[in-house]
Symmetry: C2
């Protein structure tokens, strides 16, 4: 928190104009571009995709509990740390990932632990996405099926574990979050009942949040629900000081929704886009046990203070699950104010959303964009459409310093690499 | 509340398409139209207007207290009722105004009272705008000058006094507001300190509120401030159930800001637009003691339930002070979701704001529209520009039933009549 004060990341206007120029070209919508690959129509895949995306849209997410990762996440164990993105070894981990893993080991009082992706445990975590056994996690449940997804709690901005910072102040905050915030939330939910996160998502998108890097409305609506349930004053002040607090809720909702399509045979729907700071990877509905990966790109960003593009780590975090669910970069037409954080202008924000309709299967009726006369956000990326059009999914993202222990240096935009989509298409076609 | 349930007015989609057609024509921006009157340039007026609008923009509104009208509003007395719009007699009052006045008399236990406009007592009130001596009012103070403005508290939607309903349930709610809500608010402010309403306005406009008929963001941000000050649970629930709660705060802020320009000699800046259900009137900076009036028009609306245009009362309420301050109809580009309430579509909302730049003196840096790349809303109507261009200020508004005792029947759009602007121009020119 020390880096940026309590008001969230300040907009750095120096360089934002140039950044807009950089961002403009790739985001401009084109009516036609030469297909990279001409795919034969495949009615069986189309039918599978309709089933898959229908399942995604049918999910009704409720926050039902907050409890420790060890007590809730399937397959969690005392000697395991979860991390963002596709599978990773200690040796391949980038600076911020190592910083977060080191901090989590100290938090748990351990010398070593096994590593597995959050995504393989029905969980997600932003940036390094490290979830250790003792951390409190959100439990989000589908009211239709009872299926669940999990995410850790948001620490705030600046020097925080998820950006690779791990000094004692960072660990002290995490201890307070387990001891006070997590227990307050658990009690408020136990006594006051579940919170309808689908309703908060829906209203927030109509209040200028895209729910990846802008959460002021959703955090406010969540605050209302928690205050009415009598959440403790200290916890309310913590949430009030962090307009990113809802990010982790939005991620758990998106994970719950996307995972609903896992195992729909033959479907080319993307159910995960995630980055571990070294590699970018996707999972698809028709083969959910596999990761298709490529090296992670470096986001183009708006930098805080004296930091520059040279300080930026390659793309990191499970938070691209929001784009996978039609939010974040896909919903920027609903949130032109996000350009103060990630660069670009109102036109590029609008065009990002319009372009993403070309690679998606549905328009989400729960996420309506008032500026597009309540058209739903483009939801459900189809591997085939990405391969055919060459349009790379757009992701807006925080940027971590490339060295362990520093923290956040900015925010910006990045495009998903095409290779994993091509590899997934080849796999599904054989 | 009984009419519409607790979720606010529902969007009535039947007829909304037709309504959009009706609204579209007058809202379409034209690059040139023949001037109705060719005015000679007047550098003295221009200079006075720059002083006047500079004063409006310099106001820093803080909510400092809540107390009874009798204890706070200058010139309030036990035998006086304040009402919206220009001066009015009992005989000339419309149905909803009579309903509200009758209800206020019963609330105060009186048989009769004198009538004076809120605006002549540094106060404002939405719709009928009736403020009786015992009602709690918001006290909003300019941190720069200590000057104050006042507004009553918002009752919610449907069957409420300000729309002319006055049954026992309406009066019981008003009694609870004085006994519980008003005192809770007073205590929270006394113990927790003032609330910066300029900051809430600023953030809310970037969250899709236009602060006349859409207040979901501002109410949420206000809720956060009040919950952190320990407001009582019953009062928090009341506010949580009414996303219009901030309307009265926005009105007091706008009144405080606009009145800052009163008495700037020679200025043609409009400092009040207000309607009493019978007449529409304006006040201008160069002659603040005078009203320039014309018959009130009937808003074109989206109606609730079985109500139709034929049920609509002529335009009523001080809430057009928000348009006078560059909000409401003037800020609809920031709030395309408002079209679900008042009709039109995203394009007409955008065009309403763009058109209003042609009759205003400044762009408010505190009210930035993300969709216009953070351009400030058009603020400070110039009587001369209205007369020259013939562009009528656009107002979005709730619609009351024309008979006493019924309540709200819809919401919609209306244009200010030109005559008062012409009369003010003639007066200032002689």
């Amino acid at each position: 928190m020390a880096l940026f004060g309590s008001g969230g990341p300040r907009a750095v206007t120096v360089g934002a104009g140039l950044l807009a120029d950089v961002l403009e070209a790739p985001l401009v919508r084109v009516d036609w571009r030469p297909p990279l690959e001409r795919l034969e129509p495949d009615p069986a895949v189309d039918a599978a995709n309709q089933v898959a995306v229908g399942r995604v849209l049918a999910v009704r997410p409720q926050l039902v509990a907050v409890a420790s990762a060890l007590d809730t996440i399937p397959g969690m164990r005392p000697d395991l740390l979860l991390h963002s993105g596709p599978p990773l070894t200690w040796e391949a981990a980038s600076g911020p990932m190592r910083g977060a893993l080191d901090g989590a080991l100290r938090l748990e009082g351990r010398d070593s632990a096994d590593l597995e992706p959050c995504h393989q445990h029905d969980a997600v975590g932003p940036m390094a996405g490290v979830i250790s056994p003792g951390m409190p996690v959100l439990v989000v449940e589908d009211a239709e099926t009872g299926r669940r997804a999990y995410c850790n709690l948001n620490e705030g901005l600046g020097r925080v574990l998820r950006y690779g910072a791990n000094d004692e102040a960072v660990l002290d905050r995490l201890r307070w979050m387990a001891r006070v915030l997590g227990r307050d939330l658990a009690r408020a939910l136990h006594e006051g009942g579940p919170i309808d996160l689908g309703s908060i998502n829906s209203r927030a998108v109509q209040m200028g949040d895209e729910l990846h890097n802008r959460h002021r409305a959703a955090t406010s609506l969540l605050f209302r629900e928690l205050a009415l349930r009598g959440l403790g004053a200290e916890s309310l002040r913590f949430i009030d000081g962090n307009d990113y607090f809802y990010l982790n809720f939005a991620m758990a909702v998106a994970k719950l929704a996307c995972e609903a399509a896992a195992d729909v045979a033959g479907s080319s729907l993307v159910i995960t886009m995630a980055r571990n700071g070294t590699e970018f990877g996707i999972r698809v509905a028709g083969a959910p046990e596999r990761w298709f990966t490529a090296p992670a790109a470096v986001p183009v960003g708006v930098f805080l203070g004296a930091y520059t593009q040279a300080d930026a780590n390659p793309d990191i975090g499970d938070s691209a699950i929001t784009e996978t669910y039609g939010l974040g970069g896909f919903a920027m037409a609903a949130a032109p104010a996000i350009t103060r954080v990630v660069g670009g202008d109102a036109r590029t924000a609008l065009e990002a959303t319009l372009e993403m309709y070309e690679i998606t299967l549905a328009e989400n009726p729960n996420h309506q964009v008032p500026a597009l006369d309540f058209r739903g956000t483009p939801t459900g990326i189809d591997v085939r459409r990405v391969v055919e059009t060459g349009i790379q999914p757009v992701i807006n993202t925080g940027i971590a310093h490339r060295e362990a222990g520093v923290g956040q240096v900015g925010a910006g935009m990045v495009r998903a690499p095409l290779e994993p989509f091509r590899a997934a298409h080849r796999f599904l076609s054989t």
